[in-house]
Symmetry: C4
Subunit: 265 residues, 4 copies
């Protein structure tokens, strides 16, 4: 096996026989987690100031690993299945969404060593959180979940519309009733929407709330509506998952029956 | 195809072959969304005052589109299926719920150009949110969901009754225990109901809360009851949806088996 | 049909052919609702004081209706199915739980007209909320739901235990970390339990919350645990309901197949 | 039956014919509950100080019961199934996880009578809450639930990842928008994470919340995302439970059919 084949096997999800993460991918996953962790911690002045040098070194290490990974992926791209010359396959990887994410991560990781402007650097540092998008490479399961939900997307859209109408009516109601009493909170429908969404999702910060009996009645309706609007999508999602699992089982039973039928002959 | 037939095809949901929204309906949907958006934004003084003229022009445009749509629907009404002369069909559309909604929206959209009284105008402006009811034309899916829930309406009613009893007992308990300590919040059962509903729905603004050990014990019971009373309707809704999907699948299987049975003969 | 038979038919749930509420039961249901409503409203000084006489009259009316209903139920009790003489059947109704509730409601409804002591009266007035227990007569559906949950009671008990352990560990953790900083809120585990329960149920009043990084970490764990501990019982309840519905459907299918099998012979 | 056999039967879960808790186990369960209750209450100065002596006596009693139970379990260990000499079976129980928990509970329960250092005692007192881990002996049902969830662990991991990404993006967004306005709450991503988690779990204490329109928009997105991220795992859990119940029923039906098939011969 050539180095290029081995690299491809190590970097490509699914090519490894037992379905587990390969050694190189484990390094990449941990580097992503560490890079995101460091870039989060580095925004905290209490951490940033005493450890400024350590943060810079860590960023340099992560950036170098991402650069090497990116180059290795380009080098090993011709091993991918499908027609085309080596260089056309490499070019296709570079301009694929996940290839562009890899490039972006390399750039934002190594930029601090080429750029001196502090304001630009601050933006780039924040952008480093996009490293987490590199995880989308491992997102087969997410696509499965998304597929199960897509079948029910029409029902979920209806739920969203109902929620939107309830939020709108709640906000309009409190604007009408308490707009003059609490102008800061309910002086316009856009302002009242903040209260309505935070109530319907049952978050309830308590920074704004109705104080008149009529306003509280509307508040109760929105709060109860929130409970029902949690129940509805949950029920739909549960049914969708349950259905997907049952379909799989029925398909397996049918396959088994066919095998039995053949063996009887 | 006459103009009237073409208009009907463009305006009527379901008459278009591929089930998608027709060109005219897309215009109507976007106009509704824009009209609701503008009437929400127009309640905000910070937006209203600098853009007063732009808002008026937008309202005039939306009102005119709704008026034209209304006239087109009346004109094309005879193309609907069913018996009756052209004019009786038109009259039936005008007095149907959705026809009255269309008329109301036209009136509240164009009223500002005929009425000068500021107080009346303010009410009419707020009423313009009813434009969103025009969406009920597209509500086939909502009726399906409502149908699935209706079968379980008795179970849901029991849940609602349990919730109501829990709210009542919680409010009575805190009125009894903390009525004298926090008279503003728990000085009567109607006042304590606000706290009880906001706790049972797990919104929890924090404007009122028990402060004595006994009151907090009741508060914990209501909060835990709230979690269970979310679980119950969610479970019922999930079972109802799951059941509806399974029934559909079984009906399909039976239909398939019959076809196979026929082909065996 | 004698008067006693007619009374029984009107008062007894289930004896009426079409399963709907009978005329007399409708009167009783509305009287219960009105009596509970009035006794709630009467605790509010702003309502109580100006309408003192109206409240008294309403209470007298409701008490009289409940008294007449109680006497009618005793009179018609012999029409119930089962062995025993007329008077033994009446006595069994009087000492049955629902009969005792009926008697209690009559007593607390009419007590204000025989007792003058204000403190005793205040307690009796509050007790009048027990009128709502008269609804338990209509609780067949609640028993069905309770039955479906009972089968899964062991799983639900495990959830409750997990929730209890999580609450306890969260409270102990914050007592350990912030007991000295916020002694009023976390100075002992019983005090910290209030915070833990209100967080786990995702109510979150905001009267007490952790302020140190370590305390907030524990707070996050309890909050996330709260979401999972909502998901778990909801999932169990949903599965229980789904299972009950499917069993009913399978039983029906089996019954249908048997009928078909018989008709084939 | 020897004393050792009787002790084993009384102490070992599952060896008793009817599956109910044995007399000795009931004593143990109540002692655990009482010990945890006393150690919780003892952290409250208002309870601790007036009842110091009573608490000490109770602790001594519970500690003695746990010690006797531990010795009895060691003595009866040879009755357990499996190969090995009496002493090797005893040693295996002592070093098993549940055996170590039993030993730890005995130590922390009786430590106050041998240690005088107040600071050490305070830690030991708090550790006494581990007594609740003795319940893990009864955790067969928990293992069943854990098993049902394990099959779906990949889906649940995806939900957790989605939740983590949403929390991270929400925190980064508010750090970007309101970091300068509310430095205490959003001055760094680690600080903003507290707000993001408390919002996503719909707890919503209200100690920190966005105050700018853009920040509120992000807050709404996180709050709505929180509702969906409750719906997703709930749906998965519900489907997993529903699936487990259905599999059990199908297995029973198959077993029944085989029995019928045999009896037909």
């Amino acid at each position: 096996m050539t180095l290029r084949e081995r690299l491809h096997q190590q970097l490509h999800i699914g090519s490894w026989p037992n379905g587990k993460l390969t050694g190189l991918n484990i390094v990449v996953v941990w580097t992503i987690l560490a890079a995101v962790g460091v870039s989060i911690a580095a925004t905290e002045p209490l951490i940033r100031e005493p450890y400024n040098r350590e943060v810079l070194i860590a960023e340099l290490i992560f950036g170098t690993i991402f650069l090497l990974e990116y180059l290795a992926r380009i080098y090993a791209a011709p091993e991918r299945e499908g027609p085309g010359s080596d260089w056309s396959k490499r070019w296709r990887f570079v301009i694929s969404p996940i290839g562009l994410v890899d490039l972006l991560v390399v750039i934002v990781s190594l930029a601090p060593f080429f750029i001196a402007n502090a304001a630009v650097l601050r933006v780039i540092r924040l952008l480093r959180i996009v490293s987490i998008l590199k995880f989308s490479r491992f997102s087969a399961a997410m696509r499965e979940i998304a597929g199960a939900l897509k079948e029910r997307s029409y029902d979920l859209l209806v739920c969203a519309t109902l929620a939107f109408v309830l939020v709108l009516l709640g906000a309009a109601g409190l604007y009408w009733i308490e707009g003059a009493i609490q102008p800061q909170a309910f002086g316009s429908i856009p302002r009242a929407l903040w209260w309505a969404v935070i109530t319907l999702t049952t978050v309830g910060y308590g920074d704004v709330y109705p104080i008149t009996p009529a306003g509280r009645l509307i508040g109760m309706v929105v709060a109860v509506g929130g409970v029902l609007l949690v129940a509805l999508p949950t029920g739909i999602v549960a049914a969708a998952f349950s259905d997907a699992m049952q379909r799989r089982r029925e398909a397996m039973r049918k396959a088994l029956e066919e095998i039995e039928g053949n063996s009887n002959i």
